[in-house]
């Protein structure tokens, strides 16, 4: 429809058919597949680091008041900083290349993961802890066998958020950084005036984002919530 209005010349706003052709061609000559592989490698490394780092930070802030009062408020303020603004620093620290982008991806996911873990631990039902204590659990076993499993619903939500933030950070990082990821292809498309490539990649990004969220994280979340009794059994 917008295309039909002919507001912009074909060069700036290609027809849906051209975009579809670019998509098919991209997959046929393997350039999209390669870009996807490169991007996903960065994403997975960054995401894993973010989940582990965030979980550690979350446990720390939830367990000790001194940590909460110092790091806790810092995490909150860092959460509001878009992770791409770390890129200049990352470029200085890690030089141009993989590490800088992975760093930005990690930073993107870490804070929301830490916040979710901390709130998960703080919201563990008191009654469960009391019950466990009367059955002789205390100290570390109480923590690993009761408090951590009880906060799993929050952990999953944290992972889902971290994934979304990491994905955004990755795209932003790749636009500016180097390599062969999806973001870089997007920039090439701009540089060569190939708007159908740009649109094709945008569609790809949207599809991947929603597919991973819906297929993996949402399903996981629903299963966990139902098991933990926070969702009625009939809802699906």
């Amino acid at each position: 429809m917008v295309f039909r209005l002919q507001i912009w010349p074909d060069l700036f706003f290609p027809s849906p058919i051209t975009v579809a052709e670019t998509l098919v061609n991209g997959f046929q000559d393997g350039s999209f597949t390669l870009a996807l592989a490169v991007s996903f490698r960065r994403l997975l490394i960054g995401f894993t680091l973010a989940v582990f780092g965030g979980t550690l930070l979350g446990i720390l802030t939830a367990s000790f008041t001194w940590a909460d009062e110092t790091i806790g408020s810092l995490i909150l303020s860092l959460q509001s900083v878009p992770s791409i603004v770390w890129l200049p620093l990352a470029l200085l620290w890690f030089k141009m290349g993989e590490a800088a982008i992975i760093f930005v991806v990690t930073i993107g996911g870490t804070w929301s993961m830490a916040l979710s873990v901390a709130s998960g631990i703080k919201n563990v039902p008191v009654i469960l802890v009391r019950a466990a204590r009367t059955m002789g659990a205390s100290g570390l076993p109480l923590f690993t066998e009761v408090i951590i499993p009880a906060s799993v619903p929050h952990l999953i939500t944290g992972m889902r958020l971290a994934w979304a933030f990491s994905w955004r950070a990755l795209m932003a990082g790749e636009l500016i950084g180097t390599g062969k990821g999806l973001g870089q292809m997007l920039m090439w498309g701009r540089d060569f005036g190939n708007m159908s490539l740009v649109l094709a990649i945008m569609i790809l990004i949207a599809v991947i984002g929603s597919v991973t969220d819906n297929l993996i994280f949402k399903r996981l979340e629903i299963t966990v919530l139902r098991r933990w009794g926070q969702l009625p059994d009939s809802a699906s």
């Binding site: 039902p125 009654i127 469960l128 009391r130 019950a131 466990a132 204590r133 009367t134 059955m135 002789g136 659990a137 205390s138 076993p141 066998e145 009761v146 499993p149 009880a150 799993v152 139902r226 098991r227 933990w228 009794g229 059994d233």
Partner: protein, 278 residues
């Protein structure tokens, strides 16, 4: 033998002291089924939590077979009003949770747990998760989870309070059977007079503001008990009269001063026409 000596509990809220329990003295011999009965806010649950070691008394001491109670221990297991099962574990694993810490072998643990679950008639649901069970079944699991630890004292904090009437009657009956079979000391907290009378050997009636013992009653009726036993009904009415004064006291504090539980009752039929129809 559970001994509660001169125990008091004061909560501090907004720099104001609120005395919840004052000067509680109680001795519970082994194998007795004893109920703490009282209106809400009389501190009966607080007292149970202190025996469990989850709360600390402000004054006085609690001992179980001569040992000071300072922290929770497996000799005093609690069944709460909400079953408080771990949702990520199966029924069997929930019951195994405390056993694992006692240093038994894995097969022994599993065997003991399934045997106890059989006692509460849940053999068919060993691999089910708590969210798949009804409220009554969850409470059965909670009871099994406590029984399997073989505690010296079983503490029950309104265990049937959240259940519907039919399920409650059924579980009361089964609890009596379990008591007759195991002869455990059971400390049972409830606000349900009928439940206390039906189940207990001894009933401690607590008053409010501050919580204190106002009556120590024995129930001398043969077990297994029947709901329509005239002795039990007589006792129930007696406790009702004692508690009426207490309930009215609380109501007067919370509602207006002129509140009374029993409205002025007329010694005649209100529909009587006083002869005006002649």
């Amino acid at each position: 033998m559970l001994e509660i000596i001169q125990v008091g509990k004061t909560f501090t809220k907004n720099q104001k002291d609120l005395e919840v329990l004052s000067n509680i003295n109680l001795q519970v011999p082994e194998g007795e089924f004893i109920s703490l009965l009282g209106p809400s806010g009389c501190g009966k649950s607080t007292l149970l939590n202190m025996v469990a070691g989850l709360d600390k008394p402000s004054s006085g001491t609690i001992t179980v077979s001569g040992k000071h109670v300072t922290c929770p221990g497996t000799d005093r297991v609690v069944v709460f009003q909400e079953a408080a099962l771990f949702p990520w574990l199966t029924v069997l694993d929930n019951v195994c949770f405390g056993l694992k810490r006692l240093g038994l072998s894995k097969t022994e643990t599993k065997q003991k747990a399934s045997m106890t679950l059989k006692k509460v008639h849940l053999s068919k649901f060993l691999q089910a998760y708590p969210h798949e069970l009804s409220g009554g079944m969850r409470q059965r699991v909670a009871i099994a989870r406590a029984l399997v630890m073989d505690p010296q004292i079983l503490l029950m904090d309104e265990p049937f309070g959240a259940l519907d009437e039919q399920t409650r009657l059924m579980l009361q009956k089964e609890l009596e059977d379990i008591y007759l079979e195991t002869k455990k000391t059971i400390l049972f907290v409830t606000h349900n007079i009928r439940e206390a009378v039906l189940l207990s050997d001894r009933i401690i009636v607590l008053g409010t503001r501050p919580g204190r013992i106002i009556k120590d009653l024995r129930v001398r009726a043969a077990r297994p008990r029947q709901h329509n036993d005239s002795d039990l009904i007589y006792l129930e009415n007696k406790i009702m009269d004692i508690l009426q004064v207490e309930i009215e006291k609380v109501a007067k504090e919370e509602l207006d001063d002129d509140y009374t539980l029993t409205k002025d009752s007329f010694p005649w039929d209100p529909d009587r026409d006083l002869g005006s129809g002649i």
